[in-house]
């Protein structure tokens, strides 16, 4: 009769067998395309034909391309504004809705609604709110706060901030759920002890809540940085196919789509810009990692 240990030794490959389907999918649909993108970035491939090796030409071209710098600046600015907002605002929201008071379920659901709303619906709502004859401008004009409509969607810089507002609005409920999970793990006794010691609500928030959810804040920061760097839909819906007037609100993913699509699409160059975006994402991810390391020490 075989012992349990014998089984383990003889069938060591069984766990790997279970892993195989998932691993196969990851290799086929993520890793291989990634490797292919790296290879393509060193070629002059077009969407409809393979390319020849051109060394670092696509990378040097990107570094000489004013459109690349416009897109890079917009992506970095987007990240710089959106990440702090999405780290702190959902935390505040989570603290508010964490309390078990009657009807709180409604607010939790309401805050989460934007997450499940389709991008098209969100776009239509925000266009209706922000366009020249939209809700905000009409109210402001009626109240005589402004004499001319604010160009929320027709000025590239303002458009970028309008899109950030949509990203933040959509992300609030999503990251609020993350924080609610983290807050659930903070022992209530800590708050009770602090209250007995005379700590007020603000002091309890900064001295107990914030340190307790700090790892989650780093995770939220990293995740929101990744999604901010990959922003496309908000700009496309609010600023049209050109990426705002003159294309000045284009972000890196917007640029990748633009150079890579169509019959004359330059897959090689688009891949090089993709890799540069990947490196940028990596920088933000490592930054988050480094911060967490410092915290552990």
């Amino acid at each position: 009769m075989e012992t349990a240990t014998g089984l383990v030794h003889r069938r060591w490959w069984v766990p790997y067998l279970f892993l195989l389907p998932g691993l196969g999918m990851v290799v086929l649909f993520s890793l291989w395309p990634f490797v292919n993108t790296v290879i393509l970035s060193f070629t002059d491939a077009q969407i409809l034909r393979g390319g020849t090796f051109v060394g670092f030409d696509n990378y040097t071209r990107a570094l000489d391309d004013p459109d690349f710098y416009t897109a890079l600046t917009n992506s970095v600015l987007y990240t710089a504004v959106v990440v702090p907002a999405l780290v702190f605002l959902p935390l505040a929201l989570a603290v508010l809705v964490q309390k078990n008071i009657p009807g709180i379920g409604f607010f939790r659901s309401a805050f989460y609604t934007p997450v499940i709303a389709s991008a098209v619906v969100v776009g239509l709502i925000w266009q209706w709110v922000l366009r020249s004859d939209g809700l905000v401008n009409t109210v402001f004009l009626q109240l005589k706060f402004i004499s001319d409509p604010i160009p929320f969607l027709t000025d590239s810089t303002v458009l970028l901030f309008s899109a950030m507002a949509v990203t933040i609005w959509k992300g609030l409920g999503y990251y609020m759920v993350f924080y609610l999970a983290a807050l659930g793990n903070v022992p209530a006794t800590l708050y009770e002890a602090a209250a007995l010691d005379g700590a007020g609500a603000v002091r309890r928030f900064f001295s107990i809540t914030v340190p307790s959810v700090k790892p989650m804040m780093l995770l939220v920061g990293t995740l929101s940085a990744i999604s901010a760097l990959r922003v496309f839909t908000e700009i496309y819906i609010l600023g049209g196919e050109s990426g705002g007037p003159g294309g000045d609100a284009r972000t890196l993913p917007f640029m990748i789509r633009e150079v890579g699509l169509g019959f004359a699409g330059e897959s090689g160059y688009a891949s090089a810009v993709s890799i540069l975006l990947f490196l940028l994402t990596l920088v933000f991810s490592l930054l988050g990692h480094r911060l967490s390391k410092g915290d552990e020490r």
Partner: protein, 444 residues
């Protein structure tokens, strides 16, 4: 219990997400070449037929056409596949390069150029020499390739011509004669100015979006888009500069919805809400507005499209091509001809707001009926048919005006119309950018 390492999870997630975000394109292969297929005289075999986004709305119609064909030719079995519109052309070319293109395939002007250029499509004029007489000239000529003589690489199928739609109540309110809509771009601008002066900011005249206005507006103003050789853009002219100046002036005055400059505004919605005088130039739109905004429909008038100095519209048909290396050239050709014949095209036009490119189909009395001249949908059908008979290729967007060229020009036009740069600089920069892209595309 082990504590979860959130920072490590976050790093792993970040890496995974970043990897996935860069996972992109593939490398293509090479196209097939070779002689044209020879017919055997036997209409038989199993063929595949691919259409562009016709399911589920037109499933019954297309299946009916297939069933009738199979009944007439019992030795042929047609396998129909329908593909969504997004990335359709790219998929066609990729399939062609991989050797998996269906025997009979729905193509359009763009994809025809690429497939025919790569020697993937059969020459219909050789397989079916008498077919030419069946189609309106503008549609037939569209499927010829420069330098390839009279070879035609697809049977023209359905088409939606450009017309002019406008809200006659708002038109009259502006002091304009409802029976005299604009026929040139310059007239459109003059009327838009008058409309804006009377609108009090309550409605606009037309949409700014340079992506949909160009190069059409310039062609109608006799701006030379390309040189004779077709290898250099030459639109940097006084007339093009004048176009930007008028657009800028009218945009500032409110003749166009502000958000229409970037294409983010919805023309159907604005027109349907009575906030726009000139609606979309498509007969299908007239039907939509009839169903969705009956009050505005009652005030909608239809006229011939603005054609300016050209005097005619362009033509963009869907078509049916036959793969050159099909195993069953007789069956594939017979089926393509069957789908595009007069009766089948006329029947299709009864299910959708489309027009036959088949001359016999276009002669159907239904396309001559203007009713009492008051119903916009009926007038649109007759007007569109009239325009189609005279359509010519010189009003089409040149193939050199690729999406990259269009994007580059549109960006400068948006800046010029907003007043961020001068009209002269906008047109000059647009031409320089377009020529750089063209040179790069030529070199590749």
């Amino acid at each position: 219990m082990k504590r979860l390492h959130l920072p490590r999870i976050s790093l792993a997630t970040a890496l995974a997400a970043a990897v996935m975000s860069t996972a992109a394109c593939g490398v293509g292969g090479s196209g097939d070449t070779g002689d044209q297929p020879t017919k055997t005289g036997k209409i038989e075999g199993n063929i595949t037929f691919r259409t562009l986004q016709l399911k589920p709305t037109f499933t019954d119609y297309v299946q009916g056409v297939i069933d009738a064909f199979e009944e007439k030719y019992p030795d042929v079995k047609v396998k129909w596949e329908d593909v969504p519109g997004e990335g359709y052309n790219e998929k066609l070319v990729a399939d062609a390069q991989a050797g998996s293109l269906p025997d009979v395939v729905n193509i359009n002007t763009d994809s025809f150029q690429l497939l025919a250029d790569r020697g993937i499509l059969a020459d219909i004029s050789r397989l079916d020499p008498k077919a030419r007489a069946d189609f309106v000239p503008g549609a037939w000529d569209q499927y010829k390739l420069p330098g390839k003589g009279d070879a035609v690489y697809a049977y023209p199928w359905y088409v939606t011509p450009e017309i002019l739609t406008y809200n006659k109540a708002l038109f009259a309110k502006s002091g304009l004669d409802v029976d005299k809509p604009p026929t040139t771009v310059e007239e459109l601008f003059d009327q838009a100015e008058q409309i804006t002066a009377k609108s009090g900011g309550k409605y606009s005249a037309f949409m700014a979006d340079p992506a949909s206005r160009l190069p059409g507006d310039w062609q109608k103003m006799a701006v030379p888009i390309l040189n004779e050789a077709g290898d250099t853009f030459t639109f940097d002219t006084d007339k093009a500069v004048e176009w930007v100046k008028r657009m800028k002036e009218l945009y500032a005055k409110g003749a166009m919805p502000k958000e229409s400059l970037t294409g983010a505004a919805d023309i159907n919605q604005l027109y349907g809400a009575g906030k726009l005088v000139f609606g979309p130039g498509s007969p299908g739109f007239v039907k939509d507005i009839k169903e969705n905004a009956p009050k505005v429909y009652a005030n909608t008038a239809v006229a011939e499209a603005i054609t300016g100095t050209l005097g005619h519209i362009g033509i963009y048909t869907q078509s049916i091509g036959v793969r050159k290396n099909t195993q069953h050239p007789d069956a594939a050709t017979a089926f393509a001809k069957w789908v595009t014949n007069g009766p089948n095209q006329v029947e299709f036009s009864q299910h959708a707001t489309i027009y036959p490119s088949n001359a016999k189909g276009l002669d159907d009395p239904r396309f001559a009926d203007r009713g009492d001249g008051t119903d916009a949908e009926t007038v649109a059908r007759a007007t569109g048919a009239d325009l189609l008979r005279e359509a010519q290729l010189d009003a089409n967007t040149p193939v050199q005006w690729t999406s990259q060229v269009g994007d580059a020009v549109v960006r400068q036009m948006q800046k010029g119309i907003k007043g961020d740069i001068s009209a002269e600089d906008a047109v000059k920069k647009a031409q320089d950018d377009a020529n750089k892209i063209l040179a790069k595309q030529r070199d590749q």
